[in-house]
Amino acid sequence: MQSIFERSGGFAAISKVVINFYNRVLDSDTVGPYFENINLATLIDHQTKFIAQVMGGPVAYSDEQLKRIHEKHAINQNAFEEVAELMKQSLQEFNFPQDDINHVLGELGRRAPSIVNA
């Protein structure tokens, strides 16, 4: 079965989601502050890889890596849910089918134990 990544047009389509999601995250007062002191290149890099991954693109992060990346920041369930909500909004904005949105949110939720640490 093709992944969402392939079905929706590969990186060309996903890139729009990355930028949209990135803007939403930074504008959010709940999760924006987490990203305040991370430089642009690193943040974009992480978001590109992560979104590609939860959509079934080329896999980048293991759960172990996710844990390591997030352990410096005290991330609570509330912040995690906000990010999931922003992701949902980004996907809705680009008219992704509901099934695909559910799938992505499922993939995201599955990784909560590696990300939420406070």
Binding site: L26, G32, E36, L40, I44
Partner: protein, 355 residues
């Protein structure tokens, strides 16, 4: 509205951040609205450029201007929590005949974001490509274990391979005397480890002498020469391989507890090589040349190598054989059987079997 007001309005409505500064002390003479937004608190009239761009060496700026070229760089600022990337250009100009510095900043964050995203994605894809390449090499290596390289190339290119008849090839069959009894005795795992060591040694010898292992089945080992690349030395190669295998076992037995005794049959003749199976590939060989080698093995005693009159003409000039009389060979009628005992030439002393 006078011209000055209009230019001030235009100045302020620019998307770029622009400031004019005094060239010696870098004091800001004027700055538009955008510039003040981007650099709040340090960009008012009378402030110094040195405080706006703390990371930039004004000496470098000056040396560019002395060279009559603009100074260009990128600076990152924070607006709220967002990193904004600016392309900065400082040029020398004049205002009412007084030399000034024109400072221009353009927001290139969108371009940077895309650039970083492409970099990130490229890295991901390159990494995946490397993994795929490694995986492909691993699979290729595995397939080369079960079929000769030329056959693998054919399979890769055409998707199928056709059985091929090789008129001139030689085959070796070997098995171990009493292996079944050895296996049920103590420590079967260790036994298989030893068998594996021996077969690995055989593989090395085979490779060295232009032979190729076709397969092993239990304790049986089958090798061939002249397939898939023809060679006029196929019979010599196989005869040498047989002698060296026996010699290897003699030497090994001298230093190991467990004794391994083989029987070997060799033969030259026509052989058909083919891939068998679709999901599970095995490259195998068939034909009378193969069957006769298997029959020869049954004529061998402990650590002996047997061949028959069919192969003799190929090797008799160079190898020493001993006649073992005429026997009925199942499926082949009466054949004169010989035992291979060594090589003729003194330079091949290493190939003489211990008597």
């Amino acid at each position: 509205m006078d011209m000055e007001k209009i230019s001030k309005m235009l100045f302020d409505s620019l998307e770029s951040g622009v400031a004019v500064a005094e060239p010696e002390g870098h004091e800001i003479l004027s700055a538009n609205r955008r510039f003040s937004e981007w650099f709040p608190g340090v960009s008012g009239i009378g402030c110094s450029l040195d405080d706006v761009f703390t990371d930039i060496s004004m000496e470098t700026v000056q040396s560019c201007i002395d060279d009559n070229r603009p100074f260009k760089t990128e600076v990152e600022i924070k607006i709220k929590r967002r990193a904004v990337c600016l392309a900065l250009q400082i040029t020398a100009s004049t205002q009412k005949e007084t030399p000034v510095l024109i400072v221009e900043c353009q927001n290139i964050s969108k371009v940077k974001e895309l650039e970083y995203m492409i970099q990130s994605y490229t890295q991901m894809v390159e990494k995946q490509n490397r993994q795929l390449r490694n995986e492909k090499e691993r699979v290729e290596k595995l397939l080369l274990n079960v079929m000769p390289k030329t056959i693998y190339e054919e399979l890769k290119e055409f998707g199928v391979t056709s059985p091929t008849k090789y008129e001139n090839a030689s085959v070796l069959m070997l098995d171990f005397v009493g292996f079944t009894d050895m296996a049920i005795s103590r420590d079967p795992a260790n036994l298989i480890t030893e068998l594996n060591d021996i077969f690995t040694a055989f593989d090395r010898i085979a490779e060295q002498f232009g032979c190729e292992r076709i397969k092993t089945m239990g304790d049986a080992y089958m090798a061939v020469s002249g397939i898939p690349e023809a060679t006029p030395d196929h019979a010599h190669n196989i005869a040498r391989l047989a002698l060296l295998m026996v010699r290897y076992l003699h030497r090994r037995n001298a230093t190991h507890d467990r004794q391994w005794h083989c029987r070997v049959g060799i033969n030259s003749g026509a052989v058909i090589g083919s891939i068998v199976g679709v999901q599970k590939y095995v490259y195998d060989i068939f034909g009378p040349g193969v069957n006769l080698a298997a029959r020869m093995e049954t004529f061998s005693g402990d650590m002996e190598i047997s061949l028959c009159e069919d192969m003799l003409p190929y090797i008799e000039n160079d190898f020493a054989v001993a006649e073992r009389g005429e026997h009925k060979v199942k499926g082949f009628g009466q054949k004169k059987i010989y035992e291979l005992t060594g090589m003729h030439h003194a330079s091949n002393a290493g190939f003489q079997l211990a008597s």
